[in-house]
């Protein structure tokens, strides 16, 4: 599936009675790379979960490749091309690595699982292990690989580097970059390591208490010391 655009307007959402997101609007054109930043608990994960259809939405619209998807359930959105890698590494604990990957195939032939093994050779070694027996980093690899196997047109990555060895992080970011550059995916990324995120992204948005507090390019953000300090709570970027 080629990359698709994602437009969000006036989105507000939360958990049951708790409202977390208020009036979020932004757009990512097809093939763009967008970083979502913000301090602890500002709603980044909630934003992604809402796009994936897993929270309570109070209002607003979500358009995937021009088509309104906000009324759809989670699986329908996935079949429309939305890929979601959650922060909490939701591997299926009682399935083997290979079965985990199988679930992500979305009907592609079984042989395609090899693509995941090429991306993470470590997973191939552990293909018969249960999800629950993997190390933290291996689980992270599995979650990411599983979603990419489904060839989403828009990919939501919630802290995909967490717990990965530095070498793997580098390789992975490079791989994401290639996918986006080839026009195969639009990528939205949440990442705690701000520098990595800025190196990767074309655009940046910053969330503050569930609202968009800043939008712009990485270069603009690097130059804006004040914003970095107040919204990200970091003394400066190197």
């Amino acid at each position: 599936m080629p990359a698709a655009s994602l437009e969000i307007s006036g989105l507000s959402a939360g958990y049951g009675p708790t409202r977390v997101l208020e009036d979020i609007s932004f757009a990512a054109d097809a093939g763009r790379r967008l970083a979502v930043l913000g301090r602890n608990g500002m709603g980044k994960s909630t934003l992604f979960a809402t796009l994936a259809g897993q929270t309570k939405r109070y209002g607003g619209a979500i358009r995937l490749g021009g088509e309104a998807i906000e009324g759809m359930g989670s699986s329908a959105r996935a079949l429309k091309g939305l890929g979601y890698v959650p922060q909490s590494r939701d591997v299926f604990p009682t399935l083997t690595v290979e079965e985990n990957l199988f679930v992500g195939l979305k009907g592609r032939p079984r042989a395609a699982i090899e693509e995941a093994y090429q991306m993470f050779p470590r997973l191939k070694e552990r293909r018969r292990n249960l999800g629950s027996q993997l190390s933290g980093g291996e689980q992270q690899m599995l979650t990411t690989a599983r979603t990419i196997l489904g060839q989403p047109s828009v990919l939501l990555l919630d802290e995909p580097l967490e717990g990965l060895a530095p070498v793997i992080c580098e390789e992975l970011m490079a791989a994401f970059g290639t996918l986006a550059a080839a026009g195969e995916m639009t990528i939205l990324l949440v990442e705690q390591r701000i520098q990595s995120a800025l190196d990767f992204a074309d655009d940046v948005i910053i969330l503050e208490r569930g609202r968009i507090a800043w939008t712009g390019t990485p270069a603009a953000l690097s130059a804006d010391r004040h914003t970095v300090e107040t919204l990200l709570g970091v003394g400066g970027l190197h």
Binding site: T18, G38, R39, N40, G41, S45, Q87, S88, R89, R122, R126, Q133, L134, S135, G136, G137, E138, Q140, M141, E159, E162, G163, L164, A165, P166, V167, I168, C169, E170, Q192, R193, I194, L232, G233, V234
Partner: protein, 254 residues
């Protein structure tokens, strides 16, 4: 100084795969050791073996000169060996205040009390709030854990370990999932620890590792391939290739 923590020839296999292969490691009071290594190298398994959550095939663990290999996990905790978890393990229906109070009461052997409330114990409550304040989550003291963001849960996870006042502290990726803005709090909390405490930290955030560690141990495929100073580790070719990648370059340059 004599070792307060001494692991010898620890070995554990899972279905033929030696996940921890003959690992020996000792720490003296005041040590600040970083344990790094590729994903699946066996770091968490090592911690599980040391704390008694997993049984080793062979090898021994000693704490302050006492062999604790045969003791269960709780006994080891009572002897001062405390860990934090890589994936937070908290009581989702309880508040941070209750978490920390429970840890303090347990440390003092007061959890058997049936006719009192921790809220009626000013000494406990003061310590609870001081600790939560130190980690910047005092304002969440009475929220349910299930309602607070993951990064804040990580801080609470650390608070629990600290509340037990360990002699040996094992931290399994304490900063994973904590935003850069808050890693400083974690660093500070660790820096404030009593000087005679031995700390072993597993972490993939190299900035944190190099600010923290005075000694780095690298585990790969279940074996220790390096044990030395932070400066030396970036120069080690095997470590660079297996783990650090270009980070080593950046660091060497810096």
């Amino acid at each position: 100084m004599s070792a307060i923590f001494d692991v010898r020839n620890l070995k554990r296999t899972f279905g033929g795969l030696a996940v921890t292969n003959d690992v020996s490691l000792s720490m003296a009071p005041g040590d600040r050791v970083a344990l790094i290594g590729p994903n699946g190298a066996g770091k968490t398994t090592f911690v599980n073996l040391v704390t008694g959550n997993l049984l080793p095939n062979s090898g021994s663990v000693a704490l302050g000169g006492e062999d604790v290999t045969r003791l269960g996990p709780t006994e080891r905790v009572r002897r001062g060996l405390v860990r934090s978890f890589q994936v937070t393990r908290l009581f989702s229906e309880m508040t941070p205040e209750e978490h920390v109070a429970l840890a303090i009461l347990q440390r003092e052997g007061r959890t058997g009390r049936m006719f009192a409330s921790h809220r009626a114990m000013p000494d406990v409550m003061d310590e609870v709030h001081a600790l939560l304040a130190r980690l910047g989550i005092a304002h969440l003291a009475r929220h349910r854990v299930s309602e607070i963001a993951y990064g804040q849960q990580r801080l609470l996870e650390l608070a629990l370990a600290l509340a037990l006042k360990p002699r040996v502290l094992l931290l399994d990726e304490p900063a994973a999932g904590v935003p850069q803005s808050d890693t400083a709090r974690i660093e500070q909390a660790i820096a404030d620890l009593p000087a005679d405490l031995a700390v072993l930290m597993i972490e993939h955030d190299m900035d944190l590792v190099f600010r923290f560690a005075r000694r780095v141990v690298v585990l790969a495929a279940g074996e220790i391939i390096f044990d030395g100073s932070p400066d030396a580790v970036t120069k080690d070719a095997r470590v660079r290739q297996a783990y650090l990648g270009s980070y080593a370059d950046a660091r060497s340059v810096a």
